[in-house]
Subunit: 411 residues, 2 copies
């Protein structure tokens, strides 16, 4: 068993995140709140439901009037009226009486249960025969049974799903306080890069990271601000980075996977006004370290240039800070799946590794097989084939074939 | 062990889906393609990478010139030049020679490996000492090694993720053929409903389903067309439904959970011009059947009015058809997690049930506990507390406490 599956980013980054705080809150219309994160505890402003309602088509009754009845000895009740669904009515219900009601209808006062239509039979226009007894509260929902006024709906940090939005709609909460979406400036660096929509001149390749980092930022709930390609020129890069972080909460600089460039990116990030390097580089795999600097509460990341390294860096370092910015805490926050290694997995002691794996399903009831698809760091193929990352801890030298492990699913 | 976890919708609906076909394709800009589904097989238009590149900072060499070298007996090579990254150059590399190269640089002809900077030492301005031998192809990626021209990138039906978009960018594919997003008209019916932004008059409650169905449609990759609330009036409902489906691919009518209303919704759907009822109602739990009709390739769903039933209906019937519309096949397509039942789960033989469960984590290495949060169908609380649905098959009467089961995670 390998039960190592950290939801924490590597320790160096987690320590670096300590000084960052969540972004401000803003109000958004409920209809646009899917996937947004609640910024303060939300309490119910009123009772839900606001009045006692029927859950069935049937007859509102006093339950005691039906006790002991049966198919052969039905309880005969006098039908004294009908509740019109959607109207507040004050029909009185006396002992031995029943009032016709439909799903969603407001129960008359003194009624404490509903007999389903299926268990009742009209004997004549004024009399219903009840064949099956009901207990108090059967087939109805009492006012406030779902939420009492003041009840906690969601704690701060809760990410809103469809059903959560439905609850807020039901309570009339049509604007929601949520954390502002982090604005993330994205810059690719490298003299060898050309825009994807151009045929690259000899010696150049197309820029891959701007597109994929933009998509990753959006998946993580951020707003991306693409800044294109910057050549390996200190002055231009410093000017571009300084301008980019001005209007953003976070800057991602990809490139700098080579030795010289790495120092270069670090120097640029260090030269941005009021910046401080927090993490000068961390040894993980796929290799190529990432850099973290800060400018107040703004984060400056130097990510590797190779697509696989940039993606793993995003998932393991950047995404947790985006989560912190939106009040969710600096965890990876990725769904996981239990799998069995399909072949031995090799790893280096002293280095946290994230092995790209492809999952293939096995017979019913068996966990899927996780097979490494690692290749040379410059290749896109293994990355596109991967379903997830299998973390191997610093103190392990790998995993045998056929052992259980937890896989982080790629977003 | 309960290994029943269908990814198929209930058989009646699956049969009803047989006559529907995927929507047409459209071209979208690559940057807007996240989550969209590829509509035709995509092949590589060119080699990736387009030329042989270095993966490291170091020296381009003929590998044979380094065979047998070591720290104590380095191979001495003559440095004849430097590759400028991002420029197409035709520097010749003779035997016994080395050319300085940086990550991403284009390898000179006749070079078949790169010696990393860490394994080389400049002896003088013209001579480098190589301390560690390299094999051919070490520290480089050959032209076409990632993808050859014509290689399959993605089959039709593949949903694009960030890394997939990166690959397409790398190949210069900046517009992508994807299935058109299904347009889904959403209508809530019921005399008891008021809009969420109003204080409901006596006897009315706020409309919950329009908001949550809208969010579910968007999560599933569709475009929602909200049509508000329709009273229980045959003529108005027929007119509204007929108009709504005119401009949409699918219509969701929620409400009609009561006996009378269910027939009413069915009659309205049947009266829409050129429509045919495919599934008049299916017995699942949370109870309240759903209805499926068609008008050509357009689908008309009657969903229950209770929020929990509407959500389960959406996930089990509607979402699979949205997936079919976008070429992904009519499966539930939900992530699953293995869990252990935290208490006995009761179910009715002869009825497919989807038990709402809350997952709580246990000690490391143990699957999470799944505890039912089912409550009365009109309540929002259990739905908001639920993380997933635990399916129990028609032929089972429930599950014991402490057995393993697969849980479908709610979107």
């Amino acid at each position: 068993m390998n039960d190592f599956c950290p939801q924490d980013p590597p320790a160096e980054f987690l320590a670096g995140f300590a000084g960052f705080v969540p972004l401000a809150a803003e109000m958004v219309p409920l209809a646009q709140s899917r996937g947004r994160v609640v910024a303060e505890p939300l309490a119910s402003p009123e009772a839900l439901p606001p009045f006692t309602r029927s859950l069935m088509d049937g007859y509102a009754v006093r339950a005691a009037d039906t006790f002991g009845c049966s198919e052969s000895a039905p309880a005969l009740l006098t039908v004294t009226g009908e509740i019109v669904t959607g109207q507040g009515q004050a029909l009185p219900l006396g002992p031995g009486q029943a009032i016709r009601i439909w799903t969603g209808g407001q129960l008359p006062q003194k009624a404490d249960a509903v007999v389903m239509t299926e268990h009742a039979r009209l004997v004549d226009r004024k009399t219903v025969a009840v064949m099956d007894p009901v207990a108090p509260t059967d087939n109805m929902v009492q006012a406030g049974e779902d939420y009492e006024p003041g009840a906690l709906l969601f704690a701060a940090g809760h990410r809103l799903r469809a059903q959560d939005m439905g609850l807020l709609a039901g309570l009339g909460i049509t604007t929601v306080p949520v954390f502002r979406q982090p604005k993330v400036a994205i810059l690719s660096t490298g003299d060898e890069l050309a825009p994807p929509d151009q045929t690259p001149p000899a010696g150049k390749i197309r820029n891959v990271n701007s597109i994929s980092l933009t998509a990753l930022v959006e998946e993580a709930g951020g707003l991306s601000l693409p800044h294109g390609i910057c050549p390996d020129d200190f002055g231009r890069m410093l000017a571009l980075c300084t301008e980019a972080i001005n209007e953003a909460d976070m800057l991602l600089v990809s490139g700098g996977s080579s030795l010289g460039r790495r120092d270069f990116t670090r120097q640029v990030l260090a030269a941005i006004p009021d910046s401080a390097i927090l993490v000068p580089g961390v040894s993980i795999h796929p290799r190529k370290p990432a850099i973290l600097a800060r400018q107040g509460n703004k984060a400056l990341f130097g990510l590797p240039g190779h697509a696989a390294s940039a993606l793993v860096g995003f998932v393991c370092f950047v995404r947790p800070l985006l989560r912190l910015y939106t009040g969710q805490g600096p965890t990876l926050g990725l769904p996981t799946v239990r799998a069995v290694t399909g072949q031995p997995i090799f790893s280096t002691v002293g280095r946290q590794e994230y092995i790209r794996v492809r999952l293939t399903s096995q017979a019913d009831g068996l966990p899927p097989l996780a097979t490494p698809v690692s290749g040379k760091p410059g290749l896109m193929g293994p990355l596109v084939q991967a379903h997830g990352l299998l973390p191997v801890s610093r103190d392990a030298c790998g995993l045998d074939e056929g052992v259980e492990a937890t896989v982080l699913l790629l977003p």
